[in-house]
């Protein structure tokens, strides 16, 4: 497992694009993206592709839920644990 911190910038850029490019409206990294209306189930496949491509981790089908990816913190923790 790599000790290097997970670069969250690709995630922030991804979610910023989803809310019209307005970075100032992006909630903090610990905020629930589902609660904030930024991530829904239709966005999962795209997010999983991003996570797999940007971080080189494989997401198995059993992890495919909104709960796994519900905040930038959670996604970063998931990536850190998988690589």
């Amino acid at each position: 497992m790599s000790a290097a911190p997970v670069d969250r910038e690709p995630l922030r850029a991804h979610f910023t694009a989803l809310i019209g490019g307005r970075r100032e409206l992006l909630p903090t990294d610990d905020a629930s993206l589902v609660d904030e209306g930024i991530l829904d189930s239709f966005g999962l496949a795209e997010l999983v592709t991003l996570v797999e491509q940007a971080y080189g981790v494989k997401v198995p089908d059993k992890d495919l839920s909104l709960a796994t990816f519900d905040s930038i913190d959670k996604i970063a923790a998931y990536v850190a644990a998988r690589r």
Partner: protein, 588 residues
Amino acid sequence: MIRPPVNEPLTIIDHLRRRAALSPDALHARYIHADRSPDEQSYGQLERRTRQFAAALAGAGTPRQRVVLVILQHHPDMLPAYYGAMWLGAIPSFLPFPTGKLHIGKYWKDLRALVERTVPHAIVTYRELADELEGLLKDVPQAPAVLLHEELPASAPLAPDPAPAPTSDAAEEIALIQYSSGSTGLQKGAALSHRAVLAECAGVGEFFGMTKDDHFVTWVPLYHDWGLVCDAIHPLVLGAPFTLLSPIHWVARPAAVLDVITKYKATVYWHPNFAFNFMAKRVKEEELAGVDLSSLRLCGNGAEPCLYESHEMFVRRFSKVGFDRRALGIVYGMAEVVNSVIGAGGMRGRGASEPIRVDTIDRKALQEQHQAVPLPAGSHGGLPMLGVGRGFQGTTFKIVDDSRREVPDRTVGEIAIQSRCLFHGYYRNEQATAERVQDGWYFGGDLGYRADGILYVTGRKSDLIIIGGENIYPQDIEYMVTEHPQVVAGRVAAIGVEDSELGTQKLIVIAESKSDDPAVHDEIVRFVRREVTARLNVRCDRVYIAPHKWLYKTSSGKIARLPNLARLHELEPRTSQPAAEPSGPAGS
């Protein structure tokens, strides 16, 4: 009444018993799981488990023709619980389950409203919901009994054979209620007879030449009438198997359905229009290794406007793994006529006498004169329209003006349907029924035109938003946005904008603010995103804040969709991405 022999099925339960008697070991349903091997259920197991649920409901005192709500997650008990109510002559209705604890407060509020209006006798659900449900129901008058499916053991007693219907015609009793989506304040439950449901299955089956040798696969949930009727009840009637993925599994890993089609050599796969785009875009190249779609003889589109480009994208992407474009099919209908009553395509099989027609028309004439003026294919300014086809046996349609008088071919008007699949009416809502049904015709509010006997759908009379096959009522959104103290009451517009890339609509919201403060505007934007997602489980693509009196309304006080979209650029924040173009077939 003398009960007809089991080999002349008049009800859905007759069909279930017949299958269990004729082929108890044949596969009925396969439930795919992301984390373990599939659950498989034979017709014999289906009947046995159904009788167990029927006995449990009878034990709770559930009488004939009272509603039983079924709220279950992806599990082989879903259909036995549902048919168990039907076995008793009660009226089952599937409802969606809450999709995460974050939404649960809103979910319970809506469910409570539905319970108070529908007065169900029982709710069949799962343990995780039990405590919340108990709290919710404790002060509801005539509170329903709650049954947890986990507490019904495999050894539970079986109900006896169903009692005959007290009416002279069992097929005319209400078999089930199908709720449309949207908030429960606006939800209308379509009450459907056995006769209507079975006529729908017969019409679809005959048109597409379906038999027991077909194998259905879908991820469309069973609480959607399409998933329920076309992927579960219809296979039961045919004696064919079906394989079901959970929607969340599919949406996160769309290639999963390709693996299932390949593995089980599925022949029939239904999914809504956006899924053609979604799969073409989201399936990764490496996920196509080993995929073989050559078994598919019908890949059917429906539940939302069917777009030419969506089909083409799908064919371009998947023909190299055996997808045959002749398998493309279209169905059209709504819960009020069970589900599908008009269709085309599926030319790879035993039935299908009607190819999918493509009618290229003048986009401008459609939007401005509501006329479908034909142009040569590929013309500049041409809009290729996919014909949704002809009425199946027992269904006809016509196009009418605002006075419900028939209009000539190629004139856009409201689509009216006359069908043997017509519903009884909205459950406990005669007024809503009377608005939609007149002289045996159903007026559903869809707009379209007829050419050479083929129906083309161009949009909606009302501003109903359809995202990924789910109906969203703009009034629901407008009401919840108005709850923000800095939004001007009654000055909110929720609009569905066609997006040809997505193959469905995107939701945009425009809200007039009382304040000029950008910080307040940002707060409203975040509020709208949170509330809309929490309540309707759909994402706002863009939220625009407008000054007071910015929105155009018609003289009757309705939000004028196109004029507001046309001047949306006035509101765009400098850093925002442009929203989708307000064009496309529904631009009326």
